[in-house]
């Protein structure tokens, strides 16, 4: 436990060990400092407008430390200019989250960079969507102003603006490169294009329907988010899911990891000029999605998890089908890994490209897959295993080189480990119910759901309202921490290597922009 955190804490309902503490402005920073020096990490940061209840705004910081999750809460009087101390000094990734908090709530961290992050001019400067008196259905004419990118000056430096619309079937975001010749001197990202008001929308939904929106925060992580949401609600209501439901959820989560990793492994081969890799991995991914259709009744599991359990059971012949599929995947994977490892051209592009050193990764708060490829071996499934992972002994993959090759290797390892977990889940599948009834939670409860998705840990913080409503819901994607890292990994690399490096991170725009 982090020093200074123990006194005055309360337990928070969660699928992980979780405690909560209220602090003043000074302690807000002191705790951050002590978490940092004890090797803990910033998990999420958000704000709330509670002026209707007690005239205050609040900010919440969530940390991951050696014995679990810590929620730290700081309140400020709701005068004309509410402020709180920035956490950026200890956790650089806090900066963008603080900018987002300002855009949505109008509470400012004491910190010089206040350029709009999620607000691009789509709503007035003095309107704050997450305030209680802001109506979600308000529509405004957009009034966009130029964004002040940081300028790099010097002989022969020029800028290359890319996006928001990119030349492929991918999500929108803007990248501003400052280059000399082909070399990148600086990259500045601008995100927020996909902001579609998800947090505000949650507040219009019932507790029992929020999982549907959660699954659509980032479609490639539908299971991770809907599980995190359900875990938060189930913890708040003291609901215990039937064991079979929990096993099926884990199976779905591992299939999600498999689908994304297979897709990325193919796309990475393609970006390295090896189309054969793309063809084979795309074939395997399609085989997996068809297996999903046969076992879970959907290719993408947007509606598979429901509060209290899962929506449908496996058909009788599914276990055999699944085991056959896993067996053929394992053979294919070993062969493909061999092919990648022994292909000089592919290795030449992968190795020493887009290096994120362990030191930079640590200092800049890397999480999930990206952290594991830079020698920081954290995975919630192993650090704080929640059921059914408490029986799984998940092996955490880690690499130290921090380059594209390392991110490829971690994906290969994780696919193999996922297949092992899937086989074990299918073999141990219990019979019984697949769902239980979840009662409405009373008002004012906070539940935290945290799940290791394929990108890294996702979090859903759910605060209940009266009559089964949602008062506030904050989802957090690991991409918040990892986006700024690409700005470092690209330095000194060539512009044409950017697609490869970016793909090796494969971060979420939608999950970040909310």
């Amino acid at each position: 436990m982090t020093p200074g955190f123990k006194e005055g804490t309360k337990t928070v309902p969660s699928n992980l060990p979780c405690s909560r503490k209220r602090v003043g402005a000074v302690e807000w920073r002191e705790i951050a400092k002590s978490v940092r020096s004890a090797g803990g990490r910033l998990f999420a940061l958000w704000g709330t407008d509670d002026r209707d209840r007690d005239t205050c705004f609040r900010v919440f910081a969530v940390y991951l430390h050696s014995s679990g999750v810590a929620v730290v809460e700081h309140e400020m009087e709701g005068g004309t200019k509410p402020t709180y101390p920035s956490l950026r000094e200890y956790f650089p990734s806090a900066l963008r989250m603080e900018r987002a908090i300002f855009d949505l709530l109008g509470i400012k961290s004491i910190e010089p960079d206040h350029r709009g992050w999620l607000r691009h001019g789509g709503w007035p400067e003095d309107a704050f969507p997450l305030r209680r008196d802001f109506d979600c259905n308000n529509q405004f004419a957009a009034a966009s102003a130029p964004y002040p990118f940081v300028q790099v000056e010097g002989d022969g430096v020029h800028e290359i603006p890319v996006g928001p619309v990119h030349a492929g079937t991918i999500e929108p975001g803007h990248f501003r490169f400052s280059v000399v010749g082909e070399k990148v001197l600086r990259l500045e990202e601008r995100l927020g294009y996909k902001h579609k008001g998800i947090e505000k929308l949650f507040e219009t939904m019932a507790q029992k329907e929020g999982h549907r929106l959660a699954a659509r925060i980032s479609g490639d992580s539908a299971v991770a988010y809907s599980w995190a949401y359900c875990a938060a609600l189930e913890a708040a209501t003291g609901t215990i899911c039937p064991h079979r439901a929990v096993q099926l959820r884990a199976l779905a989560l591992e299939h999600e990891r498999l689908a994304n990793h297979l897709g990325d492994l193919g796309a990475l081969g393609n970006d390295a000029g090896f189309a054969f890799g793309l063809t084979h991995f795309a074939r395997m991914k399609e085989d997996l999605l068809r297996t999903n259709q046969a076992s879970f009744s959907a290719r993408y599991l947007m509606d598979f998890l429901v509060p209290g359990g899962v929506a449908s059971d496996l058909p009788n012949d599914a276990p055999r089908l699944l085991l056959d599929r896993y067996r053929s995947f394992e053979a294919d994977l070993n062969a493909m890994r061999n092919t990648y490892d022994n292909h000089a051209g592919v290795q030449d592009r992968f190795r020493e490209t887009g290096i994120l050193s362990q030191e930079t990764a640590y200092n800049l708060d890397a999480v999930g897959l990206i952290a594991r490829a830079s020698g920081i071996p954290h995975d919630l499934r192993s650090d704080f295993p929640w059921p059914p992972y408490d029986k799984m002994k998940v092996k955490v993959s880690s690499q130290t080189s921090g380059d594209v090759a390392a991110r490829v290797a971690v994906r290969f390892d994780e696919v193999i480990e996922s297949l092992r977990i899937c086989r074990a889940l299918v073999a141990e599948l219990r019979s019984g119910d697949i769902a239980t009834v979840v009662p409405d939670a009373g008002p004012g409860l906070l539940g935290i759901g945290a799940i290791e998705g394929w990108r890294g840990p996702v979090l859903v913080a759910l605060e209940t309202g009266s009559n089964g409503s949602i008062r506030r819901c904050h989802p957090h994607d690991p991409s918040w921490q990892n986006w700024p890292l690409i700005e470092y990994a690209i330095l000194g690399n060539l512009v044409p290597d950017f697609p490869l490096i970016n793909k090796s991170f494969n971060l979420s725009y939608s999950g970040h922009d909310l």
Partner: protein
């Protein structure tokens, strides 16, 4: 190299038959021929994500896998809207992407087709209209065809594309 070749041979050709457009009267016949007749060349598609959750993108990407192999029937994805005949738009239109969507639409040369993909593209989906979302694609630019689903399957997207060409022909 030997390994790569032997894998290719062992895997063989996986491409499946092109689906029939469900509502169109015309049989598909030789689709490639048809596309060529209408356009004189391959049908060029530009995809634009106007604010999706990224689910629809994954199914559009799947169209390029060997099972669907759409390049084999004369449809290809292009990098610039200026080279496109058809704009495939996903997502509810986020307020922050409205301008980019309009500009991309304008950049596609006439005559042009627009297909809105997914529940979100077709009607705003779960996100609907709000301070941050303009809702359906048709509320921002003219749309010729929509395909529902969350996300719609690659087959459904392909059928919608085929239907759009056929009904326009």
């Amino acid at each position: 190299m030997i390994n790569t070749l032997s894998r290719m041979i062992r895997t063989g050709i996986l491409t499946e038959e092109v689906p029939r457009a469900p509502k169109a009267d015309l049989p598909i016949g030789n689709l490639q021929e048809k596309v060529r007749k209408i356009l004189g060349r391959a049908l060029c598609i530009r995809h634009l994500d106007a604010g999706s959750c990224n689910g629809c993108e994954l199914e559009i990407q799947a169209l390029n896998n060997p099972y669907y192999n759409i390049e084999g029937i004369g449809i290809k994805f292009v990098a610039s809207p200026r080279h496109a005949d058809l704009l495939l738009v996903t997502g509810p239109v986020s307020v922050n992407m409205e301008e980019a969507l309009k500009r991309t639409f304008d950049a596609v040369p006439d005559p042009k087709l627009v297909v809105a993909v997914g529940d979100c593209g077709a009607c705003g989906g779960i996100f609907g209209k709000s301070y941050a979302s303009r809702g359906a694609v048709a509320d921002v630019i003219p749309v010729d065809h929509t395909v529902k689903g969350c996300p719609p399957s690659p087959l459904a997207i392909l059928q919608a594309i085929l239907e759009t060409i056929q009904t326009t022909a």
